[in-house]
């Protein structure tokens, strides 16, 4: 009873200060280190639905505490990572996943950078190859050569690099 009131009060305070995002420290016990690692990885990848861009592990809001408890319980019950993600996806939508699913609406997101990189590489290759095939520049006229000599002398006295 007292615990509920305490939690309710804490919830009220925390609700009021939704800008604060500081670590909430739960003490769940897991059977194996691998399970604990899975739990930690999951709560890092899941988003607090209420906060201003924080993951479950970094958020102190009551809903995050509830969701962490849900994840912990599911991990302890032997559920797989994908199953846990789908469970939360079904209830909170794509918003709750920090790793966006690969689906037609996110093809540009996931494949865009690689595509851009390949295009840029192709462009660079074309640039370099085109240089090889280009003709040498036309030779300078005598006046141009004299001007070049004067300039080179003046500039040569100044530049160090």
């Amino acid at each position: 009873m007292k615990r509920v009131i305490l939690r309710a009060l804490l919830g009220a305070v925390l609700l009021a200060l939704s800008t604060a995002s500081f670590a909430a420290i739960d003490t769940y016990a897991f059977e194996t280190a691998a399970e604990e690692a899975r739990y930690k990885a999951l709560i890092d990848e899941l988003r607090c639905p209420k906060c201003l861009n924080t993951n479950l592990s970094g958020s102190d809001s009551p809903i995050s505490a509830d969701l962490r408890r849900t994840v912990a319980t599911m991990v302890q019950a032997g559920k797989g990572d994908e199953e846990i993600r789908e469970y939360l996806l079904a209830r909170y939508g794509d918003f709750i996943l920090y790793r966006p699913r690969v689906m037609p609406a996110t093809y540009v997101l996931w494949f865009g950078p690689a595509l851009l990189f390949l295009l840029a590489l192709a462009f660079m290759a074309r640039l370099v190859l085109r240089q090889r095939r280009a003709e040498a520049p036309a030779p300078l006229s005598p006046e141009e050569q004299a001007a070049l000599a004067r300039l080179s002398q003046a500039v040569g006295e100044n530049s160090k690099a």
Partner: protein, 661 residues
């Protein structure tokens, strides 16, 4: 009285900015030297009035003038004076006044340190900067006036600075960051001036370089400071979250890095001119985009300032005008003709082009990820999606590995053409040593081989040893140690800066890889007298005692750390309640070290004197920011290379004579 003075000074600054934007440019069009020369005095005047305005706002804070709304919302009589001074930039209006002041500062600096520039060019550059300042001041006066009064009833007490901001980080991070952000306006102004004048040559690149290096240096350290601050302030041991506001500062940095390298190519070889101009426009555009992201509320972030669509719309319109016209000017006036200089496939030009490609694609990926929630919502008619660290790490890390890989051969590569055999011979031993160290060090120290530590040690060694080999080869012909050292010194500050900055990148990369792999943490319930072991150390919890601070009350815990039975640290994590806002904050305590951080935070009291505690062991985390500091010094050093200093007068005359004939 003082707030009104500040307000008035801002209006005067606006008028001067308008004059600066118009008069020197008119002088260029009409070939009127007097009008062109006015740019210097106008810049000085502009800065003076911006400084005056800023000083008035600071004074309002120091005097606890709660009749000023901004002061009432962000300060408190109990606030220590140094936080009152920094609270000036603690929220939107004041921080933007700081941004504008810094803009005035850069403008003045350019006006003062550009004797080598032709008058017309300087006039154009300063006019562009003046025009940008007009926009900033208009934004302040029209939508974000920090001097607005709360009248007739002034607040009796201020609402207090957000407790998360009452910290050293606030004192250093924003000023450094803004100096970097705004500093890219100089390169931008030079690019616009070059496009306007039609003079897009190697000289332009030479003039731009020191300013770009300086801005980059400040932005590097600004980002590092922000990351460090988040790490010790937020209490969960993280230092980068790919949050929209973090990305907003990172994107100009990435493009700025590409710009620095591209400017080197344009200055040395006269190639990539259009591309460099485009990068210069892009870097500052990303700074403006950053301001938009932080202050408009369009993207969610813990870090965003108070959300106001009206302000956001103003910035968007400003962004459209500035960047749109800059890119239009670029499209119309950038040279289409290919430069004459040629280069081979294996040359420094091509390596730097590859550098640019990697950096620009990274920027595009970060931009895409940051804005994608908006795109998705439009595509699906209201669907919400989150793009977070898993995405950004997945696309960014491979590109960075590529970049790190190229950082060894690039400084060794020669301009125009490098012999493949020669490059291979220089680097083959380095490659062997890197692979060997990469495998040996992690194995010996931790007894296991994990991918990222091995890879990062390999790459870090690869870069560092290559720099060493390069330096040695450059002084190969000198005999004796002192001659060699003198030879190194003669390579110039530009070279030294490059070495420092590249080392900084290697150090940061190492820090990131090692801390990500080897950090460990435990969340435990401890009663006084109980302890927990993490790695080679034991953490003994001694209980919690009440504590009173200047504007808060706290529960302070005591944790003693032992290693091999010896006490090595005492940590005091706190749970504070700030009185004015009734906000509860966790203050972690850290035992910092060059090779590891020990990090303890208090959770909730669990009854009977027991508390929830989180303990982190974070190896090499300081390297992440130390690398950033190295980068800053590298950038500063390169900016002060003597070839950028003013040409002596006789040389100037000789040059002018040669050019005229």
């Amino acid at each position: 009285m003082i707030p009104e003075l500040g307000h008035f000074a801002l209006i005067l600054a606006l008028m001067l900015a308008v004059l600066l934007a118009v008069v020197p440019m008119a002088g260029v069009v009409r070939r009127d030297l007097t009008l062109q020369h006015s740019a210097g005095a106008l810049s000085a005047g502009l800065f003076v009035f911006l400084l005056l305005s800023y000083a008035c706002l600071t004074q309002a804070f120091l005097q606890d003038d709660f009749s000023v709304a901004y002061v009432a919302n962000n300060s408190n009589a109990l606030l220590p004076w140094y936080y009152k001074v920094s609270a000036v930039w603690g929220a939107h209006e004041g921080s933007f006044l700081l941004w504008t002041l810094i803009m005035g500062g850069w403008t003045l600096a350019v006006a003062l340190r550009s004797e080598a520039l032709p008058t017309a060019m300087l006039a154009r550059v300063l006019s562009v900067m003046g025009a940008l300042t007009v926009g900033f001041i208009l934004f302040l006066l029209m939508t974000s006036n920090p001097f607005e009064r709360v009248l007739p009833v002034a607040a009796v007490e201020g609402a207090d600075l957000n407790p998360q901001l009452q910290d050293f980080g606030l004192i250093v991070h924003p000023p450094m960051l803004y100096t970097g952000y705004v500093g890219f306006s100089v390169a931008f102004a030079f690019a616009i001036a070059a496009l306007l004048s039609g003079r897009l040559d190697a000289a332009w690149a030479r003039w731009s370089r020191p300013w770009t290096n300086l801005a980059w240096a400040f932005l590097s350290v600004g980002i590092a400071l922000g990351s460090w601050w988040a790490y010790y302030e937020l209490g969960w041991g993280g230092w980068w979250f790919w949050d929209a506001v973090e990305n907003a500062s990172f994107m100009p940095w990435l493009v700025g890095t590409a710009l620095i390298h591209s400017l080197a190519v344009t200055e040395k070889r006269g190639v990539f001119k259009s591309w460099t101009v485009l990068l210069a426009i892009a870097a500052f555009s990303l700074s403006l985009l950053g301001a938009f992201i932080v202050r408009s509320g369009v993207l969610t972030s813990v870090h965003a300032f108070a959300v106001d669509p009206e302000r956001g719309m103003f910035i968007l319109v400003f962004l459209l005008l500035v960047v749109g016209s800059a890119l239009a000017l670029y499209a119309l006036r950038a040279p289409v003709m290919r430069a004459e200089a040629r280069y081979e496939g294996l040359s420094r030009e091509v390596m730097l082009l590859a550098n640019n490609i990697v950096l620009v694609v990274s920027t595009a990926a970060v931009l895409l990820g940051t804005l994608y929630p908006l795109v998705y919502e439009s595509l699906t008619g209201g669907g919400k999606i989150s793009v977070g660290p898993p995405y950004f790490n997945a696309v960014f890390v491979p590109l960075m590995v590529l970049l790190l890989l190229m950082m060894a051969p690039a400084p060794l590569a020669r301009w125009k053409r490098t012999g493949a055999a020669q490059l291979m011979s220089s680097l083959s031993k380095v490659a062997l040593a890197s692979v060997a160290l990469g495998l040996a060090l992690p194995l010996v120290i931790t007894g296991a081989l994990e991918l990222w530590p091995v890879l990062s040690v390999m790459l870090g060694t690869w870069i560092t040893l290559a720099l060493l080999v390069d330096a040695l080869e450059r002084v190969r012909n000198k005999q004796g140690l002192s001659a060699k050292l003198r030879g190194l010194k003669n390579l110039g500050a530009g070279y030294g800066g490059m070495v420092l900055a590249h080392l900084g990148v290697a150090v940061t990369a190492l820090g990131i890889a090692l801390t990500t792999t080897y950090s460990t943490e435990r969340d435990v319930r401890l009663a006084p007298g109980e302890s927990v072991t993490l790695g080679p150390r034991t953490y003994l919890f001694e209980g919690v005692a009440p504590l009173e601070g200047p504007n808060y009350v706290a529960d302070q815990g005591t944790v003693r750390v032992f290693q091999n039975g010896q006490p090595i640290a005492v940590l005091h994590p706190e749970k504070r309640r700030y009185l004015a806002r009734q906000m509860v904050m966790t203050e972690a305590d850290i035992d910092p070290g060059f090779f590891r951080d020990l990090y303890v935070a208090l959770g909730e009291p669990l009854g009977e004197g027991a508390w929830a505690l989180r303990v982190h062991d974070k190896p090499f985390v300081r390297w992440v920011w130390f690398g950033g500091v190295l980068m800053m010094f590298g950038g500063l050093m390169a900016a002060f290379d003597r070839r950028y200093r003013r040409l002596k007068l006789r040389d100037q005359a000789a040059l002018a004579g040669a050019l005229a004939s």
